[in-house]
Amino acid sequence: MSDKIYAGTRKGLMTLQKGQEGWSVSQVDFLGHNVSMLLEDPRDGWLYACLNLGHFGTKLHRSSDGGQNWEECSVPVYPEGAVIGGGPFVEEGMPKTMPASLKEIWALVPGGADQPEWLWAGTIPGGLFLSKDRGTNWELIEPLWNREERMEWFGGGKDEPGIHSICVDPRDSQHVTIGVSCGGVWETRDTGASWELLGEGLRADFMPPNLANNKNSQDAHLLVQCLSDPDKMWIQHHNGIFYSTDGAKTWTEIENVEPSAFGFAVCVYPEDGNKAWFVPGVKDECRVPVDAQLVVTRTSDGGKTFESLRNGLPQEHCYDIVFRHGMDIDQTGNQLVFGSSTGGVWISEDGGENWVSITNTLPQIYCVQIAK
């Protein structure tokens, strides 16, 4: 198991290290800045931090030595004249499109094992970008950008639509599946040259009933893929939990999940796609733990049953929510960590049975990653 965790927070990149006296914050980088996404690339150990500077926009930094030294590299840039659709919020007389300008890097994922130095980035608004040189240069995946359905995407969680999930198939690096809020689930089998909109069975309660199953309107909060059985995928969706066993083509809604099926984060067990973890909140309109008791839910049978895991988690007056990138699982599947909206970090080394609080005083946490 790993003895190091990275947390991207509202006020910097925090490194948490396990020493002889337990876990503690060992390093703070980019103090004072939003770290919207981070990545430790398991292929070469390079570390990446995506920043949202209040005055100066979105930046990307990288480190080849585990964060001792950082250098700023390039960020994705939209082509001149690129626009996004106005979504359902355009007022009469206002333009139906808006200029596309980088707001945030919302997903940063390594390419396949056979694609060294490749990075995929999902952005707000709605762009998928590829770098083949560790972020020195970026190219927009135009075949997706040019799909007419993209102009119908709209913001979910943020005012503009964004790509938050990128799953590179471990069997075939050309096969990539992405999740868009709000724009559904899309798949390419040729490294982005062509795209298909998937998601049969997903359901959006935030649309009128006749439009609830429109694939292009779905709000997956996070899409994850089982490493050893990649056709098994999970979605923590705005309207619940969905499970696919055919590579995101069709989805089954998992109902009657106690205490709730609402949430943002999901992790899947690397060795068994039937096993997954979630951190529920009450519902869309009440984003706090049910009964103010923090729990992690776990299924081991593809969603037929769930356990509520709460040993070591606060069970009274707890109002922490875990954002979509706020939970991670290691390669063994036993070590799990999550960070919360109010700066708490908890770790389990037995698959979620027992949890230990590492800190409750960090800034708001956007993303966590267990170091490899």
């Binding site: 359902p88 007022e91 009469e92 913001g155 005012d159 649309m207 943002f264 984003r287 954002f323």
Partner: protein, 69 residues
Amino acid sequence: MDGNCLREALENVFEKNPKLRGYVLDDQQRLRHHVVIFIDDQVIQDRVKQTDSLQADSEVYIMQALSGG
């Protein structure tokens, strides 16, 4: 909802439930930023004055758009 246009229909509803107004419209009587209205599965055009026309059998959905995290 009774009315020839959306705003008229909304006013009829607000008359019966005055407190609802402030949840749907802002203080300038525009549709709230994170509220969306569909008429017969189409998003309305006029978020400022809600002048979109209604048919006698139109179905109107007032939805909370997605926001926050």
